[in-house]
Each structure stands twice: as structure tokens, then as C-alpha cells.
Subunit: 239 residues, 2 copies
């Protein structure tokens, strides 16, 4: 089995609650439902033409993905945005993806490594192309692909689930709203990581991955500080 599968671990939804969960998740991630908004069960159930029971099950799944929070007898609401939380996520990714890179360095098959390297080459071309088209989302997606590949190659199933299912939904949530600038530097860091993995140097791969994520965190922080208060206002924590 190769690790090069689409980032969307798309298992065909068989149940109504499942389909609803996927729809709602997409809506939240892509900003169709504003961050921090309270969820009205009767209203949502009506607009999606499902019963409240199925909706509650879908909401429960969203809670697993950390995309909504629920309080007893009060209700659910979309998570709200905070810079502090984004920094926390970067810290966790630093630790976990560092470990993933270490494991991937020894576990990844040579052909998968070749594919990963090819992916980077394509990205190099895409960067200039995307730059021209102003399609930053293109670059972001390929950035996510890179990280997904390495995580998948770690071989640690639980690590994969914790990252891909639990944490990366949050990453997408923030990424969509921040639309961070994606510097060529990040691509260089990616290449260094792959080179270490090609040398099967797990220790170095981990160090480089941690450095890369820490650097990304600082780039995001710097970008946030340049944003106008108005831009941040929409996204600031609502509590």
C-alpha cells in the first residue's frame, strides 16, 4: 500500500448522520458557517431536512474533530478563533510530526520516497505558476499533501489518526481563515527533510521537521501581527 492517497480519507458515507457530518464539516472548514456561531438544532435539522436525532449524532462527530464545542443544556457552537490556540496547535504539530518524520525516515519505502521527492519538484514548478495566478490555496493544499504523506508513512496508526483526523481539521479551519502566505523558504525546508529521509537519518529528519514547523509558526505569528485590527476582529476569540 502506498502512502500517496488523497488527503481526504474519503470513505463513502453509508448513514445519514455520516453524510450530514461530512457536509457540516465542509461547511465549517470552508467558512460557510461563521466561527463561534451557536448551532440551533431545530433550525439546522430543518434546513438539512433531517431529524434532530441524526443531527445530534453528526454534531457529536464534529465534536470529536474539535470543530464544535458542546455544553450540557446549552447547546453546541462552532469553535471560535484565537491566535493562542493556533500557536498551541503548532506546538503539538512540532512534537508529533517530528516523531512522524523520524519514523517515516526508517519506514518509508524507497519508491514512496521517490514519489515524495517528485511531489516536491512539481510543487517547485507550481509555486511560480500559483504565484502568477494568485492562487495561494493551491500552494497550501500541496503543503498539506507533503505533511500528510510523511504522517501516513510513519506507520503508527494512532499517530496517523490523531493527526489526520483530529488535528488537521483544525489546521484547515485556521488555514482557510488566515490564508497564510506560503514562502519559498518552506519549500526549501521540505527538501531538507526529504533529503534526510533519503539518508535514512531519522534523528535529523525529526530535527528538521520540528525546525520547519517552528519556523512556520513564527511566519504565521508575524503575518498575524501585520493584519489590521479589523481583519483580526472578525476572527478574534468570541469566548
Amino acid at each position: 500500500m502506498t502512502v500517496f492517497q488523497p488527503a481526504n480519507l474519503a470513505q463513502e458515507p453509508v448513514t445519514i448522520a455520516d453524510r450530514l457530518f461530512l457536509d457540516l464539516r465542509r461547511a465549517i472548514l470552508e467558512g460557510d458557517m461563521p466561527a463561534g456561531k451557536k448551532i440551533s438544532e431545530p433550525e439546522l435539522a430543518g434546513s438539512y431536512k433531517v431529524s434532530r436525532g441524526s443531527l445530534r449524532e453528526a454534531i457529536s462527530k464534529l465534536e470529536n474533530c474539535n470543530l464544535v464545542t458542546r455544553k450540557p443544556n446549552i447547546g453546541a457552537r462552532i469553535i471560535s478563533f484565537s491566535v493562542a490556540q493556533l500557536m498551541e496547535i503548532y506546538q503539538i504539530r512540532e512534537a508529533m510530526e517530528g516523531m512522524a518524520a523520524r519514523l517515516a525516515a526508517t519506514n518509508m519505502s524507497t519508491e514512496d520516497l521517490a514519489h515524495l521527492s517528485a511531489l516536491l519538484d512539481r510543487q517547485q514548478e507550481t509555486v511560480t505558476e500559483a504565484e502568477r495566478l494568485q492562487q495561494s490555496r493551491l500552494r497550501h493544499d500541496s503543503d498539506l499533501d507533503f505533511h500528510f504523506c510523511i504522517i501516513q508513512a510513519s506507520g503508527n496508526d494512532r499517530l496517523i489518526r490523531m493527526l489526520c483526523q483530529d488535528l488537521y481539521d483544525l489546521v484547515r479551519f485556521y488555514r482557510f481563515r488566515l490564508n497564510p502566505s506560503y514562502t519559498p523558504k518552506a519549500l526549501q525546508e521540505h527538501e531538507l527533510i526529504v533529503e534526510a529521509m533519503q539518508r535514512r537519518d531519522g534523528e535529523m529528519a525529526e530535527l528538521l521537521m520540528r525546525h520547519h514547523i517552528r519556523a512556520s509558526r513564527e511566519r504565521a505569528r508575524a503575518q498575524l501581527e501585520t493584519m489590521t485590527p479589523a481583519e483580526r476582529g472578525q476572527t478574534e476569540k468570541i469566548s
Copy 2:
């Protein structure tokens, strides 16, 4: 707020599904429900005197804790036991708790550090006492307390939640069934970690924590290999 609160983050359950969730979780963790067993909704709902709706909500919460798995149209079952999965958990803890120790080294208040040091002293006494009474569970609980304190002191709320809510239920699940021997060596390693934190040396605290968890993993692995096939048979993966 001090980090020295009971490991059971006990918020009084207000809803039936909540209370049921806590009951079931305890039952699973303490082995009242055998690992790998299929959950019959009508049966469980009957024995706990609740409706299937509430039960399903509780099961959904158990799924979040990674204590049960659910397949559509087939049902839920208690997670089953596998050595490979236990090793995976140790790897994740190595990465995440290492980061927690690094953060705690700079965040922890001096008085909390003093408390932690005192906790270790008490454990030192308790070890001999427990040794005499053959109450290995005593030692394990205090081991968990140690790790909980450092995680809580990291200050990273999401890291705390991912570890304390998601991963440590699994740790307890395995710990109850393996009943691992708790060597004095582990206590020494704990002391080294605290000393590094007292020096506010986050880098070293992380290294020592990672070393400690890696060593614990190898101790667990070694102990597993000495177990008879019969002992392991009850706990082996049922698939």
C-alpha cells in the same frame, strides 16, 4: 490555579448520557467489560435502565476516548488489546509529553515545582510501603499523577486535552490489564526530570522525559515477552 488536582477531571455529570458515559468508561477501564466484546445496545440499555438514545450518545463519547470502535450498521465493540498498539501509544507519549515537559519547565510556578518534588518524596516512601503490601496499583496511580502534573503545567490547553482526555484513557486501559512492574529506576528518572525543571532547563527536561518514556516502553516490552502465552492470550488482539 494549581496543577495539583485529582487526575480524574471530575465534573459532576448533569445529563443521563454523561453519567452513563462515566459508568461505562470505568467499567471498561477496570475490566468489568472484557476487551474486544461487542456491545449490544438493547442489552446494555436494559441493564442500565436507560433508553437506547441516551446509550448511543454515551457510546459516542466512548468512541471519542478511543475506548470503543463503531462500524456502521454493525455496531460498537470494546477496543481490543494489542502489543503493537501499546508500543504506538508509548511513541506518541514520548513526543507529546516531551513537549509538555519542555513547556512545563518554563511555565511551572516555583511552588508547584516544590509540590511536585514533595510528591516524589512521598512516592519514594510509598514505593517500599507498596512493595510490602504488594499493591502495585498504588505505585501506578502515583506514576500517573506525576505525568498528569507535568502535562497540566505545560499550559497548552489542547495538548492537555489530547493527552489527558484522549490518550490517557487508553493508558489506563492497558495498565489495568498489564499491571506492569514499576521499577525504582522509573522513580530516579522522575527525579532527574524534576531537577531539570527546577533549573528551568526545558531542553533537558524534554530529553529526559523522552528518555524516561522510551525506557518505560522497553520495560513494558520486556515484561510482555516474559508473560506466558496463556496470559497474553486473554489480552491478544481479537481483530
